[in-house]
Symmetry: C2
Subunit: 446 residues, 2 copies
Amino acid sequence: MKLMYSAVSKEFINSGVNIKCATTTQERIIKSIFSKKASNMLGFLDLPNMQKDEIEKYKTMGSEIRKKYKDMIVLGIGGSALGIKMLKNTFFDSINETPKCNVRVCDNIDSDTFITMLSKLNLKKTMFNVITKSGSTSETLAQMMIVLNRLKAKKLDISKHFVITTTKGNALYNFAVENNIPTCEIPESVGGRFSVLSAVGLLPASVMGIDIEKMLAGGRQGLSIASRLDEKNIPFTTAYINYQYLSKGRVNFVTMPYSDRLALVPEFFAQLWGESLGKKHNLKGEEVYAGQTPIKSLGVTDQHSQLQLYTEGVDDKIIMFMTVDKNAYDEVISEEIAITKHLTGTSLKTLLDYEYISTAYSLAEVNRPSYTISLPCICEESIGELIVFMEMMTAFMGSMLKVDAFDQPGVELSKIYTKGCLKMKGYEKYGENIRKFKKVSSKFSL
Amino acid sequence: MKLMYSAVSKEFINSGVNIKCATTTQERIIKSIFSKKASNMLGFLDLPNMQKDEIEKYKTMGSEIRKKYKDMIVLGIGGSALGIKMLKNTFFDSINETPKCNVRVCDNIDSDTFITMLSKLNLKKTMFNVITKSGSTSETLAQMMIVLNRLKAKKLDISKHFVITTTKGNALYNFAVENNIPTCEIPESVGGRFSVLSAVGLLPASVMGIDIEKMLAGGRQGLSIASRLDEKNIPFTTAYINYQYLSKGRVNFVTMPYSDRLALVPEFFAQLWGESLGKKHNLKGEEVYAGQTPIKSLGVTDQHSQLQLYTEGVDDKIIMFMTVDKNAYDEVISEEIAITKHLTGTSLKTLLDYEYISTAYSLAEVNRPSYTISLPCICEESIGELIVFMEMMTAFMGSMLKVDAFDQPGVELSKIYTKGCLKMKGYEKYGENIRKFKKVSSKFSL
């Protein structure tokens, strides 16, 4: 992985934004994270170095599921979904491939989608991987109950159609054990959005046939870069660039890969960046309303949708491009008609590269800052390294902003009101609030 | 379609944001748009009332293609892609259906995706719909040349495998005529991002089996609402709410449907809103750097990703929720285990509704403004109405911001540099700039 930050050109050079953090600050932040003093939720740092027998478990389970089942449906949401969706797109969908056992992720509870999907499955040949760290995610459990109902109606043995990935010892885990349902564990110290290199992502990856050992090796490479104490620490440098730009008012952060294979990376990164850094309070308890809004984009596609705004709209963004040096497939344009002579002899990939560099340069020309992360190619190693890069960049940015990058207190309120709607004991008053709110709403509707 | 704006609750009521525009201003803006004095690019207002014979043409072509071909590949980007992708998702993908003739949109030039897709097609049974208003979009023409090469290699009659949708009389149109390739026309006065209800969207919709007459009827309903001179003009009211919030510093605009079937609506809307309003100059030529950054979201999925940031991060957003009153499929949760008793007896759709209202309320509690657009159901009429709503809201917002909502000058620079890279005559100096830029870049890379 390489970082090219000169694409920021004039703006970067004249803006007072540095790439070198004060050495002592960098050392302090890196040491507090790698010594795990910064938080008790830094277990994701250990995942790339997990024990051989844990890796073997996922490989064996994965290959057995792949042999016996046509589909594996992941029931999970947020951190239990986004990494898997990204891996599926990177290694399959984007190159028009389907895994032998097709892994699909259900991360919404829209009944139109969920019920129609279930009714098209051959349940006898379907495995369901329920993934929820707490074991109590309402959406996931709702899906699971509907599946349970269908399996029982077909008199299918539920222990043969569920794998449950959760924290050891919680109520869902115990349900699994009582019913002989195989389990995979998410360590207590690994937060949902940092869990893709745990069982959460590794089992589905293994089912799809992705080489998880190579992915973990890439993760170790990412850790090694992230522990450097100089500016070659790419996640630290990029976090520091963002930190400085944010303090100058650049509240929006665009991620724009020039690669269909990386098309879901911005979606995965948006959770890491948004949920980790968007915080009302800093570690001292002061109100700071921190964070930088992640914006998902895709090159060249969004040149024809969002580039106008990035170039001429409110100047409050910084752009992280992602590029891939070498594609697996390419083709030179050899046919021509009168209006395509300028394209003849150029390959599709070369045209993509030209469009990226032209976009980066045209933004630099109008002093809109950007930098580029480039991968040598798409493979398990480079993706493992990219995952750890994004996790570490987020953790470093959290330290710079002095917020807890590993909690999500702001989503609790919505969950409480949902419990109120469901008339859960102890939540009655919240249900009452919602009823009043609806009444006021209907008065103001057109 | 209904608008519920009380979800903004305290913030809305106390913030000085009104829903009623001064009547004279509203009248002036609406009249200048509907009389087409505001711009010569307002042809999209006529599309829902197009001639019967034009509708018949798309219906007939659509049904013939559906009978004869297994796949129709759309080669197009931006406005020539996003509407079609949205319709495909709304009426097929989101409910796990595949059209009899499968319409797929290629809106990127990543060779890994494009080449692998081509090699999996049975070209004999494949139609290619090339869509580009100017007839000169490099990405689309590059794709077309590669396809042309493959068709010739297989000795297939190109007039049987292409339909070209473009402006009458341009070079691509003339190429089609010379080669007996059927054509569909995009009126000069219809901009790309406002073109989904022209041949651009109607032919692919018709091929998929979507009832285009009903969709246009929905569009007429949308126009009728948009021409009202009171606050029941929903697109005007929402534009005005956004205009006021933007002037108070809410620079980000989140679109968050609680429906998988509307999951690509934010993507479609992001082009309309971003490319139309993100402008350096206003109509007087003054530097304004106008616009509001569109942010794509999905409920409930993004409650587990972006809600934390929306609730606690920088307070610079306004949220437009979208809901659907009635789903086509639903199921009551009847199974239970120890930890799911609170869910028993609730249907999946009801749970979705609870989560939406709880999220809207919890945001209102912390004074983060939102409003909700609700559709009675998903059908051709409601989607046609929604499309016109989004177009009109954008046009009205353009008038309020006093910018030209129908051009995109900011993307020209990037196109010019790409031509420089391609060594097109007259663009040599731009190529030289890029080479210098690359040299500086490599100096600054890690």
